[in-house]
């Protein structure tokens, strides 16, 4: 008998009907809000998780804001970009001093800018989805992670996020290789429970929240 058969036989041999009544799981009321309230909750929760959030009214100024961010943190004027339409269509050409390329990140990249599929207000979380235009390494290798999020893509709860993702992926059949739910920048408390930021992933997570 193969291990597979052995395990399945053992499970079938031992399992008993549960008998417990079906419970409808509660969805936290906190996340079940709309519009401005939802956006405010997202900002509050993301900030509580040590992310920074910058509100942007006009997409055209995003390259300029990125340049300011780099200057503010004393970073070289260089970054790696996701190549999705939202980021590719920004007027990078008007800012020749910001050196940029697209594609996956390498160990040398200090800063990346990528786009989020959605945000979840309940916990201030970004949903980052892998694909040819948004490689996963952008989310983890650089020390500074910049993420562009449309305000209209903020969902209240995870249940709404999953519903949207199912819709976007042919009912899950074209499910992406990776879905990263990111809540704040990387951290560790493995040395005497002292909280330290920037363990292996980014030390800083900066969300550009585009008011669309």
């Amino acid at each position: 008998m193969s291990d597979r058969d052995t395990i399945l036989a053992s499970i079938r041999n031992h399992k008993r009907p549960s008998g417990a009544p079906l419970v409808t799981p509660p969805i936290p009321a906190r996340g079940q809000v709309e519009g401005a309230e939802r956006q405010a909750l997202f900002v509050k929760m993301a900030t509580a998780a040590s992310a920074t959030v910058e509100l942007v009214d006009d997409p055209e100024i995003i390259p300029e804001l990125v340049g300011q961010y780099l200057a503010r943190h004393n970073l070289p004027s260089r970054l790696v970009l996701a190549s999705d339409a939202m980021i590719a269509n920004l007027p990078w050409a008007d800012h020749p001093l910001i050196a940029h390329r697209t594609g996956p990140a390498t160990g040398q990249d200090l800063v990346a800018l990528t786009s989020a599929f959605a945000g979840v207000a309940e916990t201030g979380t970004l949903a980052l989805v892998s694909g040819p235009e948004t490689p996963t390494t952008l989310n983890f290798l650089p020390e500074y992670s910049l993420v562009l999020l449309s305000a209209s893509a903020i969902r209240g709860t995870y249940e709404e996020l999953w519903r949207d993702l199912r819709d976007a992926t042919n009912d899950g059949h074209d499910w992406p290789r990776t879905v990263n739910l990111v809540t704040g920048p990387s951290r560790s408390a493995d040395i005497e429970q002292k909280l330290l930021m920037g363990a292996h992933g980014p030390r800083k997570l900066h969300i550009l929240l585009l008011n669309d």
Binding site: T6, L8, K15, P25, P104, W175, R177, N180, A189, G201
Partner: protein, 479 residues
């Protein structure tokens, strides 16, 4: 891993006398409990979520084969592979085979308790493949040749000073005069060292907090991001999971995620929760070219349908460890195998046998705090009682304990004799205590054996009359 659970009593003594360990354990007592409390209070639905989470797990366990097969079908559909492994040996060999077929020489690892359970590091090393732990805590203890002492804080037994010593010894290529006073400089050094390894590893091995049948995904939950680098950068990703990790849908996953981080670290959500589904797609620019899930049984399926089945609801948050007075006193290593604390005391006998582990179910005051804080409402004290009964039944308990309980049972089953004996006992003890009404040593027992009870405290002596006698005199409760 070679268990030392049979030495629990000695292990516990050593732990209690280990000043450095006691200093490190102080951090558990303070931090985890308060953070969890605040997070739980901030979510009014928490208790209802616990009920829902418990129901999800019970439902899955009642039909586990169906859910595992559904998961397997989805993984295959997404281009991944599932490997079923009945025991640790089978799992080790499967992992080695995948590594060898990939021509792997270096393997990075995210945190995996199943990896500990099957002893994968030693096995890979013996077969000339270098395993590198990448979670900061796991990296520290790997350098120290130790095992995790906590489910989510593997190096909680190590002090900052010890980390510094360990790094100075291990990173000999760096300037010996460098300043490592700040914990942040220790972290920076580990980050730098591990970064080189992430980029040169051939295979990445992670654990799996959950397997989602709906999408065929393995899910990891971390704060550092090391697990994600482990499963993104190498050519091959292997996720190690046990059969109890499967959940039917993304919505079920959500319920358990809402419970996990709050119970574990008191966060609303851990920093990184990642769903991995199959290998890199045709037009992807990064991600592993091959995706394997190893599903381990190792004795778990036999718990189904027994009074121990509830143990399989565990989501490994560590809340029971954080709230356990015994764990606070002796730490995780004393338990002698992979899983420490209350859940370890209840689960380990089921996985490696009661002969080796029969001390563990006794390492509890049955105070019930573990069950109170368990997000999955696992009745740990009850399960420990079951093991104690089995220990006695199978004659594994120490002779003195069996005799003692035998003598007590003899009287307890004969009420007349019992009353007589307690009457004599109560009077003798009172006389022995004298005017103070306190016992400063245990009468009729060799001091060498009982000093531990009386050296630091005295015990109240009985009033001289038994409860029955007082009750008859009209001084009973409620009168």
């Amino acid at each position: 891993m070679q268990p030392t659970s049979h030495r629990f009593i000695d292990n516990a003594h050593d732990a209690l006398n280990n000043e450095t360990l006691q200093q490190a354990l102080g951090n558990v007592r303070v931090n985890f409990i308060e953070k969890r409390r605040i997070a739980v209070e901030a979510l009014p639905e928490f208790d209802d979520l616990r009920k829902a989470g418990r129901e999800i797990r019970d439902r899955v366990l009642s039909d586990l084969d169906t859910h595992l097969l559904a998961f397997e079908a989805r993984v295959k559909e997404q281009g991944g592979q599932v490997h079923w492994c009945a025991d640790a040996d089978s799992a080790r060999k499967t992992v080695l085979r995948i590594c060898q077929e990939a021509g792997a020489r270096r393997v990075t690892k995210g945190k995996t308790m199943i990896g500990e359970e099957i002893g994968i590091n030693e096995y890979l090393e013996a077969n000339h493949i270098e395993p590198i732990e990448t979670d900061l805590g796991e990296y520290i203890i790997q350098l120290r040749h130790e095992t995790p002492s906590h489910l989510i804080a593997p190096a909680v037994h190590v002090t900052q000073k010890q980390v510094e010593e360990t790094f100075r010894k291990a990173h000999r290529d760096l300037d010996p005069q460098r300043n490592l006073d700040e914990p942040s400089s220790l972290l920076a050094e580990a980050r730098e060292k591990l970064r080189q390894r992430f980029l040169s590893a051939d295979v990445g091995i992670t654990g799996a907090n959950f397997l989602v049948a709906e999408t065929g995904s393995s899910v990891i939950v971390t704060n550092e991001g090391n697990g994600d680098l482990t499963q993104t950068l190498p050519r091959v990703h292997i996720a190690l999971a046990s059969i109890d990790k499967v959940v039917p849908t993304l919505d079920d996953l959500t319920v358990l995620l809402r419970l996990l981080a709050r119970s574990a670290t008191g966060q609303e959500m851990s920093v990184y929760t990642t769903l991995s589904t199959g290998p890199r797609r045709v037009d992807d620019h990064d991600g592993p070219g091959a995706y394997h899930v190893v599903i381990l049984d190792n004795g778990r399926s036999k718990l189904l349908g027994t009074e121990k089945q509830d143990l399989l609801r565990c989501i490994r948050c560590g809340a029971c460890l954080n709230h356990c007075p015994i764990y606070h006193a002796v730490g995780g290593h004393a338990y002698g195998w992979v899983y420490g604390g209350p859940i370890g005391a209840a689960l380990t006998p089921a996985l490696i046998g009661l002969e080796e582990t029969h001390h563990l179910p006794n390492a509890s005051t049955l105070c019930g705090r573990c069950e109170q804080v368990c997000p999955m409402q696992i009745p740990i004290p009850n399960i420990l009682r079951h093991w104690r009964e089995e220990e006695l039944r199978r004659g594994l308990a120490p002779v003195a304990m069996r005799r003692g309980i035998g003598i007590w049972a003899f009287f307890a089953k004969r009420p007349v004799l019992y009353r007589l004996a307690t009457r004599i006992g109560a009077r003798l003890l009172r006389n022995f205590a004298g005017k103070t009404g306190r016992l400063t040593r245990v009468p009729l027992a060799p001091p060498a054996l009982t000093r531990g009870w009386t050296d630091m405290r005295d015990l109240p002596a009985p009033s001289g009359k038994t409860f029955h006698a007082l009750y008859r005199q009209g001084k009973g409760a409620g009168r």
